[in-house]
Symmetry: C2
Subunit: 430 residues, 2 copies
């Protein structure tokens, strides 16, 4: 048993406990696949006495996870503490400085410090695995880094946040509004007490920045991601999407345009023809389009102890088997920056919803604003009529530029018969 891989696990929350359970339950299977035993030797967490439903008695306990990372009893460090800075970052740096490979599920850390960590790791001759940081159990990092590595990728996009997808799905299925469904999701444990990282799109943006680096061979650039969340998506919008043959999904999209690399997270209208329109509930999906392979779709659970542990252990197995790839598919020193394509240059069709007083001349005013910005209207819907209340008017534009759309939306908001903030949702073409 001298060649066993000694694993230290820092962080024993839901995912950490799942990793311990997987390594224990499948120890024979994993040893057969790796050709050597995988053994947890050390663990660290905030509270030693919490009941996690797993037996920790045979592992060395560290109050300080950075000490675990430096321990001579540990060959590989699993970082499951979370957070882009502070202790999680210190643990990873310490492991690398001590010549140890790192496996992490920490998307914030990799999205913000990934390039620096990759450089440090590659200089130290060790690997950082972060399969679990993106799309939970879906082996999408490996797929992009190795399985599709023969392709130039044109676009990679997906549903990367299960909380938002659950909320959008529930809103559609029940007709309820955002706040109502969010509250239920919190009760069910699908959303955090403070849901802002999820519903404001930050979590999906972290994951997108990582995927983009692997797909396009550029340094991770979280700051370049345009981020909008799902708080403004209303039951009315979802009902109209249905009527128009779309689903509303929070998509994370990275693609090359004539202006550079576009990275954006926002609610999208997705045509029912696209497989991703049918990915519902807490499931995640990623679509990668390569020049030789064409469209590939990957779907699975994006969170939870089991799926995340599956991804963590896949990285551990790669390490145990001596399989190495450059951290982001391209060696860190060869990652090449691509200029950020500004959102103002984004081209696409737009869904616009206005709540207006039902009186003659409103459409003429709105149309005039759009005409001034050279935006042409593809179709218009006004189904309800009311003398008292605001009624919805739906406009679908032809292809237009974001900058002009933004100006038009502002001017439309100022029109007197427009009673509420106008809403815009981008229509994504595939």
């Amino acid at each position: 048993m001298t060649n066993r891989l000694r694993i230290g696990v820092a962080g024993l929350g839901t995912v950490g406990a799942g990793v311990v359970r997987l390594l224990q339950e499948h120890s024979d299977l994993l040893a057969r696949r790796a050709g050597r035993p995988l053994a947890i030797t050390a663990v660290s967490a905030r509270d030693r006495n919490r009941d996690r439903g797993i037996d920790l008695s045979s592992f060395a306990w560290f109050d300080d996870p950075a000490e675990l990372a430096a321990s001579g009893e540990v060959d590989l460090v699993v970082e499951l503490i979370g957070g882009s800075d502070g202790i999680a970052k210190r643990v990873c740096e310490k492991a690398i400085a001590n010549g140890k490979p790192v496996v992490t599920a920490n998307k914030a850390l990799i999205a913000i410090h990934g390039t620096a960590l990759a450089k440090a790791a590659e200089e130290a001759g060790v690997t950082i695995g972060f399969e679990a940081a993106v799309a939970g159990g879906i082996p999408i990092v490996k797929a992009l880094r190795e399985g599709l590595a023969g392709n130039a990728i044109n676009r990679v996009y997906g549903i990367l946040n299960g909380t938002c997808n659950y909320i959008m799905t529930q809103m559609r299925e029940t007709g309820r509004d955002f706040e109502d469904v969010l509250g239920e999701a919190q009760t069910l444990g699908y959303a955090e007490a403070d849901p802002s990282f999820d519903v404001d799109g930050v979590d999906a943006a972290h994951k997108l920045a990582i995927l983009a680096s692997v797909a396009f061979g550029c340094p991770v650039d979280f700051d370049a991601v345009h981020v909008e969340g799902v708080r403004h998506v209303s039951a009315t919008d979802i009902a109209y999407a249905d009527e128009l043959g779309y689903r509303i999904k929070l998509l994370a999209i990275a693609r090359t345009t004539e202006h550079g690399l576009e990275q954006r997270v926002h609610p999208c209208m997705v045509s029912l023809d696209n497989p991703i329109a049918h990915v519902d509930g807490v499931f995640n999906a990623v679509v990668a389009e390569g020049d030789f392979v064409d469209r590939t779709v990957f779907e699975g659970r994006g969170a939870g102890a089991g799926p995340t542990a599956s991804a963590v252990v896949a990285d551990i197995l790669d390490c145990a088997s001596g399989r190495r790839a450059p951290t982001f598919g391209t060696p860190a020193a060869a990652l090449t920056s691509i200029p950020a394509s500004p959102m103002a240059h984004h081209q696409g069709r737009y869904y616009i919803r206005l709540m207006v007083q039902d009186r003659a001349g409103v459409i003429a005013d709105v149309s005039a604003v759009l005409r001034d910005e050279q935006i042409s209207i593809g179709s218009m819907l006004q189904s309800g009529r009311s003398k008292q209340d605001a009624v919805p008017v739906i406009l679908i534009t032809h292809e237009a530029e974001e900058a002009g759309m933004a100006r038009a939306m502002q001017r439309i908001a100022e029109l007197e018969p427009v009673m509420q903030e106008p809403r815009m949702i981008r229509i994504e073409e595939f």
Copy 2:
């Protein structure tokens, strides 16, 4: 450039030409990802003078691909000749005997001789990559072998033959019959002049046997696969499937049961709830269910020069980067046979279509036969009425055992008012 990987390509059909083109077009990208140049140095094919739209002048030409495999100018052999025996097998054996890794798209070869080749390769210390043999551009072999390797797999299934899926999709969309759509598929190049390997399920069975070995850690056992094709699926069945909320798909399914490992390829009724029901046309999809990761779905193009070249080059990149995994995820010597679960023990619900004379008592006779075999009827449909022609009667059974179903079908066929061979399609539950 001393550490470049010298590649010999044996077989220059559509896929071979695609591989040459990919390696040439993306030479910089691939060198950056692999950390070393990939260079084709030798090629072999039947006809040296055929115009393939690629420049072969800088490669050494071999009339005999086995000589290419032994050449001192070649570090890695790409076998794209095809066929389970004969020259393709000799080329692979020769390469392994000369200590060279092999990359192949040959599903018949791996399905029939995969275990022996894996043993030989692992003893020689080289790898055999066969990502391109299953589901074209979808990196499913890598996903099962590495990305999901932390899981015990319960079931793996998919749409593995694009020709059949194209035909089933066209039949549904146009209401035409099998022979008609097959003829069109042949004209369009989606089906071979002799389509039997595809439409009789053999091609899908080859791929399933390979997937099952990777998923369950057992030797490849093509002979254990129960195989039925799509020739008997009629436009009538497809229309009834629609009415009942199903799609008819040729599925390849491997799963563990109480009797052992069940491997089967046959037309299935798939509920619209399952993502695989929506995979249409020439697309392939694979679903893998792991105990920790739960359901993962992989979709993409299952054939064609580009997607297949993408998979071949991914294997070449693994090799160039020194990434190694046991051939079937588990070392060949540790592959463990699992008893074949006989089809007679298969349990499931069944769709039965009878063409009967429209007269009193028919249903009573059929019901009696089913009762004798302890098969209970969940629902029945008889929509048309005719004094002259046979009318269809559709029965959906509750869960039943295949052996009893087979006996019942035989007895029903002998009933006097049953005018044509009764048809049965298994309903797959997910």
